[in-house]
């Protein structure tokens, strides 16, 4: 009984990773299953958000404080994942902006942003 409770406690402690997996699957599903181009970009954003959570969760060291050297503290949280995620967020923003710009041009050229309609117009 205590063994089962311990296992339950451990998996509940990993709730961040459960959320990461859920976001990965949700994002990928939207990218694959939806045919509206803007919905695909939203799905891509969700997929990229899961990566941020994956990096930052192990960065908080148990018992660690803000990573600025001050007296009286021995354990500091890891600042490197935060720096990596700042970069990844900027890359995600740039990709989203570029994707939206391409969608605006596609709407002007084809008159629609549903992928099925676009492929029916030119690639039949």
């Amino acid at each position: 009984m205590t063994d089962l409770l311990n296992q339950l406690n451990e998996s509940l402690g990993h709730v961040n990773h459960w959320i990461t997996i859920f976001l990965i699957l949700a994002g990928l599903y939207i990218v694959v299953a939806k045919s509206n181009m803007i919905k695909k970009l939203v799905g891509l954003s969700i997929f990229q958000t899961s990566v941020y959570l994956l990096y930052i969760s192990p960065g908080k060291i148990v018992g660690g404080t803000v990573p600025i050297i001050s007296e009286g503290y021995a354990v500091y949280s890891n600042p490197l994942p935060h720096v990596l995620i700042l970069t990844a967020i900027v890359v995600g923003v740039a990709t989203l902006a570029l994707g939206l710009a391409i969608v605006v041009r596609i709407k002007e050229a084809y008159g629609t942003i549903e992928e099925d309609n676009i492929y029916a117009q030119d690639w039949d």
Binding site: I24, L28, V31, M37, K40, L41, L44, F47, Q48, V51, L54, Y55, P58, L80, P81, L84, T87, A88, V91, A94, T95, L98, G99, I102, V103, R105, I106, A109, Y110, I118, Y119, D122, W123
Partner: protein
């Protein structure tokens, strides 16, 4: 000054791209882009001379922080091989492409085109030179984002849909790569590739390390268009401007192949990958599928650029076949084919760009009878076709020979037969274009034709002659590939 070469090779294109964005005059941007690409080429060649002569590698600490605490630029034989390839192609395509850019791209966007071209060059050189996992992701996205823009500037409106599809698939691939790096960082605590390799030695068969390896391989396979993740490649190459296709077809996937090789052999280790993981078996199946499905689909294409793009999918299958063979000869064959395929495809796409410049279309049916009107171009195309076929004395032969030797070393005679059969398929789809160009009459009322501008013809022929030269005198490519493979196969410290 010499120690700063690793950073000059990457930062000069970046600075030049920012300058191009300020000065948007087409002529000055072209001159700036050409001189910076040439500077990168000279830098890469001098690093090759230094590595061959003295040390085995150059290690440059960016920002003065010593590795493994800081980002390290690590240049060994394999990296400098890719650096020379990318900068050589960039310079050649720029020299070739000025007329083509002026014909195909709207006037107010031509300066921005060169800016994106330089950013793409910076990103590709950065991936090849960096020794840090996350830095590779940053450069990968720099090059990918500029590639999406370069493709979307095509004349046809299908270029926009192709760029969008490439954006979605490319970003999914890059994000999977980042997930893999995150998992490996969590278990090793470092991002430096050499250090990561050392720290992974005892824990290679834990679940986290295996999951990280799987994510990285899938993410990079999306970027290098391994079957079945190649769906973005035919549309992207077919509808992009001619200069873009000539540059991207030769460099974009090759740099991702370099990164995959770096991970498989320097981080995970040859022993683990070849003997304890399913990677060789899976790669074998996927490579064979890539070769045959790619070649078959190429036979039925109406658009000559799309046909050459499917042919690229097949040739990437040959390169990953070298990884699947998991022995020295196979890897040498794959690496040599990286360089040779870049030369061949670059030359072929340049010739097709010249044809498109003259007749305005790339449909194979519209190319009837141009053999007599554009003799130099079509002769170059025929020579390129012979190189792709793998005729001895051309570059296409060297890679396939070493792949066959590797297959025989594994005892897989059926693979040698398959390689030969696939070369026959090349004959079918290339021969179709040659037959239509030479043996049919020009339709009445067609556009009056002449050869493309001199810069285009001269550069395409330089690359075609390089195909033949490097096929006869294989010392540069083979020696470099063999020393690179020696480094890759060495056990990790």
């Amino acid at each position: 000054m010499f120690e700063q070469y690793p950073v000059i090779v990457v930062m000069a294109p970046l600075l030049a791209a920012a300058l191009c964005a300020v000065v948007r005059n087409e002529r000055w941007c072209w001159i700036l882009a050409l001189s910076v690409s040439f500077t990168s080429l000279v830098g890469a060649l001098s690093m090759l001379g230094y590595i061959d002569g003295e040390a085995g590698f150059i290690s440059y600490a960016l920002g003065g922080w010593i590795p493994p605490y800081g980002i390290e630029y690590r240049v060994d034989t394999l990296a400098v091989y890719i650096l020379i390839l990318v900068s050589f192609l960039a310079t050649g395509v720029l020299f070739y492409g000025r007329q083509s850019v002026r014909a195909e791209i709207p006037e107010n966007l031509q300066g921005w085109y060169y800016c994106m071209y330089l950013l793409c060059l910076c990103g590709l050189m950065g991936i090849a030179i960096t020794g840090d996992a996350f830095n590779a992701f940053v450069f990968m996205e720099i090059s990918s984002l500029s590639m999406y823009v370069l493709i979307a500037l095509g004349r046809d409106r299908k270029a926009l849909a192709a760029a969008y599809q490439y954006l979605i698939m490319g970003t999914v691939g890059a994000t999977m790569y980042v997930i893999g790096v995150g998992l490996l960082y969590t278990v090793t605590g470092t991002l430096n590739l050499v250090d990561m390799g050392e720290r992974l030695n005892p824990i290679m068969d834990t679940r986290a390390a295996l999951a990280g390896m799987a994510f990285i391989i899938v993410g990079l396979s999306l970027k290098l268009a391994l079957f079945p993740m190649h769906l973005w490649l035919p549309n992207a190459y077919a509808f992009a401007p001619s200069v873009t296709t000539a540059f991207l077809s030769a460099t974009a996937t090759k740099v991702s192949i370099y990164l995959l090789l770096r991970y498989l052999y320097s981080v995970f280790g040859f022993d683990f990958v070849a003997n304890h993981s399913p990677v060789p078996a899976v790669m074998l199946v996927l490579s064979l599928l890539a070769i045959f499905v790619g070649s078959f689909t190429a036979i039925f294409q109406e658009n000559v650029k799309r046909m050459l793009a499917y042919s690229s999918v097949a040739q990437i299958g040959y390169i990953t076949l070298g990884i699947a063979l998991a022995n020295g000869a196979g890897l040498v064959g794959g690496l040599v084919h990286v360089f040779n395929h870049a030369l061949m495809k670059g030359a072929l796409f340049m010739l097709v760009g010249g044809i498109a410049f003259q007749i305005g279309t790339v449909r194979i049916e519209d190319m009837a009878g141009i053999g007599r009107k554009m003799p130099l171009t079509m002769l170059g195309f025929v020579t390129g076709a012979l190189c792709m076929l793998g005729v001895p004395g051309t570059v296409g032969f060297v890679g396939k020979w070493y792949l066959a030797v590797g297959a025989i070393q594994n005892g897989w005679w059926w693979l040698v037969a398959l390689i030969m059969i696939s070369s026959l398929l090349v004959l079918v789809y290339m021969g179709r274009v040659v037959e239509i160009a030479y043996f049919r009459e020009r339709p009445r009322g067609a556009v009056e034709l002449s050869e493309p501008p001199k810069a285009m013809i001269v550069t395409s022929w330089v690359f075609i002659l390089a195909c033949i030269y490097f096929g006869i005198d294989t010392s540069f490519t083979l020696d470099t590939a063999e020393s690179a493979v020696e480094i890759l196969l060495a056990p990790k410290p």
